[in-house]
């Protein structure tokens, strides 16, 4: 029998017992809906977690340090050998920037310094951030704004530091983590914050630095030996192999306008080195702030090296490749990709369990299909006999019952996906109402990707066809002589 005839006959047969077949199809729909609702929740939670983690910048970032520096990941990845003591300088930065999959490689500039606000001193870790950091989660609920330009003399302060500047006691942990604590600190916005820092200037002209730059003051915050010739700390090493570049350390001040307040530092990889004040990276580089590596290596202004680089990759999938390339260049590289892998494993297991629970309803529905089709065989026994007498082969009869089972599976699948989608939407809406009442921002916990829609339809069809196996075989084996005698 040709397929259109098969479909026509199957549709006719299904219409004949419309109530029973509709109930069976509804059973399949409920099964598919539970599967889709469960998995869409699992997928949605996974996407939410991934989205959140990606926004932290942790999963697409590789921190690079010198090969002989026992810093980030030195133990985890194996410290580089002694010969891998290549300087992490501008040449290396450019080389890393040009690696496939790398978006940018920026110096990790941070220093402990003193700030003055309203005439009072405050100690703070200052970190320089590229403009690309704007996309990070930490700046989602910023109070105020991000840096206006790459060279702006602007600062974004961390909430606890802002509270300290305003002379307020730091809030409790619960309150401090909530986004609504920030508006209370709004008076700080637009105010001036004075940063004290040590500038390195070439030794040949130690005092011709930028002491007179606008907005700066030559007054050191406390007694200082500046200007003074700095000797490299690792003089033995540098003294043998590297021409020493002498430089002077000149105390400087710089006025910064507070433009934003954030709850957390964007770079949560840091532990004790967490910053409380952020300034634009290009602006910070222009200040020629002295860094620990300057003292260690004694490099000149032109070939100064960095303590660390923060390398952002296009996709978290690119991280292992980039890490490997950086290792081969002789540097230490560290990322939290392993944590990401664990997370993926967790969600895979979660999805598996959700799918198993969701499939239970579909398994029950498949029993409904078997029951319906077996009943149909009993009811249509004579009709099957007629078909066989007229020349229907066993295969024709089998195909007819398969088509009926498949039709119930497809219709049930479509209804189920729609129902599951609606259930997911309702759960999402309900959860967001709850979040709204808790003064938390809305989230999407639920997602129905195309693969889930197609997979659910395919699974529904497959389950229906498997359920149709026994009834179809039974119908095909009917003895036409007995079937024709059946009343």
């Amino acid at each position: 029998m040709k397929t259109p005839d098969l479909l026509e006959l199957a549709a006719r047969n299904l219409r004949e017992s419309v109530l029973r077949n509709s109930l069976t199809t509804l059973g399949i729909a409920v099964g598919v809906a539970s599967l889709v609702a469960m998995l869409s929740l699992g997928v949605g939670l996974q996407q939410l977690a991934t989205r959140r983690l990606e926004k932290t910048g942790l999963f697409d970032t590789v921190i690079v340090s010198r090969g002989d520096f026992g810093g980030f990941g030195a133990r985890a990845r194996g410290a580089a050998t002694a010969e891998n003591n290549r300087a992490l300088d501008e040449t290396a930065r450019r080389e890393i920037s040009s690696l496939p999959g790398v978006l940018e490689a920026v110096p990790d500039l941070r220093m402990m310094t003193q700030m003055r606000f309203d005439g009072k001193p405050h100690r703070a870790m200052v970190a320089a951030l590229p403009l690309s950091a704007h996309d990070r989660e930490a700046f989602e609920n910023i109070q105020g704004s991000f840096f206006s330009s790459r060279n702006a003399a602007e600062a974004i302060v961390q909430r606890r530091f802002a509270e300290e500047l305003l002379g307020r006691a730091p809030g409790s942990d619960e309150a401090s983590s909530a986004g609504e604590a920030l508006p209370a600190l709004q008076p700080l916005l637009g105010k001036e914050l004075v940063m004290y820092y040590a500038e390195r200037v070439p030794a040949a002209n130690p005092s011709s630095g930028k002491a007179g730059t606008p907005g700066s003051s030559p007054t050191p915050p406390r007694a200082s030996q500046a200007p003074a010739a700095a000797a490299p700390a690792n003089g033995a090493d540098a003294g043998v192999n590297t021409p020493l570049a002498a430089f002077s350390v000149v105390p400087q001040t710089r006025s910064l306008r507070i433009v934003g307040i954030v709850a957390d530092e964007p770079d949560t990889l840091r532990g004790v080195g967490r910053a409380r004040v952020f300034i634009p990276l290009d602006f910070a580089q222009g200040l020629q702030i002295i860094t620990p590596s300057d003292l260690r290596e004694g490099s000149g202004l032109a070939d100064r090296s960095y303590t660390a680089l923060s390398v952002r990759v296009r996709n978290s999938r690119d991280v292992p490749g980039v890490e490997g390339s950086i290792h081969r260049m002789g540097f230490n590289a560290f990322s939290v990709l392993d944590a990401s892998r664990d997370l993926q494993r967790f969600f895979t297991v979660l999805d598996l369990f959700l799918a198993i629970f969701g499939s239970l309803a579909l398994a029950v529905a498949s029993l409904g299909i078997i029951n319906t089709l077996v009943m149909a065989i009993l009811e249509r026994r004579r009709e099957i006999g007629i078909l066989k007498a007229l020349g229907a082969s066993d295969t024709d009869v089998k195909k007819l019952f398969f088509t009926e089972a498949g039709a119930m599976g497809i219709v049930g699948g479509v209804l189920g996906v729609t129902l599951g989608w609606m259930i997911g939407k309702v759960i999402n809406a309900g959860a967001n109402i709850y979040l709204h009442r808790q003064n938390l921002p809305s989230e999407t916990f639920w997602s129905v990707p195309w693969w889930l829609v197609l997979g659910a339809l395919g699974f529904s069809l497959a389950v229906s066809l498997v359920s149709g196996l026994y009834p179809a075989a039974r119908a095909a084996k009917l003895d036409p002589v007995k079937a024709l005698r059946y009343e």
Binding site: I386, L387, A389, L390, L484
Partner: protein, 249 residues
């Protein structure tokens, strides 16, 4: 009216060789058909007569390919049905035989046209050719105006006409009729028998008619086979109509 003569080479020849169909019920064996041998030439009209349980319908089912013999063989146009696979046997039923049952056996949910179209669907006949062939078959039985009716809306005689049209629509070589008038009054039964004889004469179909009405058999068939307890007890030719040749068993 063109008369059909029976010949050994015409399509629709049937030959049974010591054919048996035994059923086992518990410890007892029921010999529904027990070693029947006979030959029917193409275009012959044979009536199978016998009392209830004599094995008429069982023999018809074996010739129709609806059942397989316990032993022996059925040959149609020289081809042994025992050697056919299940699929080949279905193809044989589809193209070579048309069956009319006492109980009509129409599909109640289908219209008259759909019932008649059913063998064409199974034979994978092109859709565009079907309406013409359905109309032709229904014309032959005089039921063209009832195309859209369902079997439940027809009289017994009309239902049997539909069953006959369905049996004819694929132009089979053999028409097997199992008590076709059994559920009809005598007048309607005569009408159906006239149609069957018409198929035999005009289309040259071999007709095997199962009946227990001797008068009906003698009136329409040209040869009578008497069955009792599953055995062929008598093979009796009937004088031919004028212009027909007698058939020798």
């Amino acid at each position: 009216m063109s008369m059909t003569t029976t010949t050994h080479n015409a399509p629709g020849t049937i030959r049974t060789v010591e054919i048996c169909r035994h059923y086992t019920l518990g410890t007892s064996v029921i010999r529904a058909v027990d070693g029947i041998s006979f030959s029917a030439q193409g275009g012959e009209f044979i009536a199978l007569l016998g009392s209830s349980g004599s094995g008429k319908s069982s023999l018809l089912n074996l010739i129709a390919g609806l059942d397989r013999p316990t032993s022996g063989d059925v040959q149609v146009d020289g081809r042994s049905l025992s050697e056919l696979s299940s699929e080949e046997l279905a193809r044989y039923r589809r193209h070579s035989v048309g069956i009319v049952f006492q109980a009509f056996n129409l599909v109640p949910s289908m219209t008259v046209a759909e019932n008649v179209e059913l063998p064409l669907r199974l034979a994978e006949t092109e859709r565009r050719d079907r309406a013409g062939r359905v109309g032709e078959a229904l014309d032959r039985v005089g039921l063209s105006p009832r195309l859209a009716h369902r079997p439940g809306e027809l009289s017994g005689g009309e239902q049997q006409r539909v069953a006959l049209a369905r049996a004819l629509v694929n132009s089979p070589r053999i028409l097997l009729a199992d008590e076709p008038t059994g559920n009809l009054d005598s007048h309607t039964g005569m009408e159906i028998m006239e149609l069957i004889r018409d198929c035999n004469r005009r289309l040259g179909m071999t007709v095997l008619l199962v009946t227990h009405e001797r008068a009906l058999a003698e009136r329409y068939a040209r040869r009578l086979l008497f069955l009792a307890d599953g055995k062929l007890v008598e093979d009796q030719p009937i004088l031919p109509f004028p212009g027909e040749s007698a058939v020798r068993p």
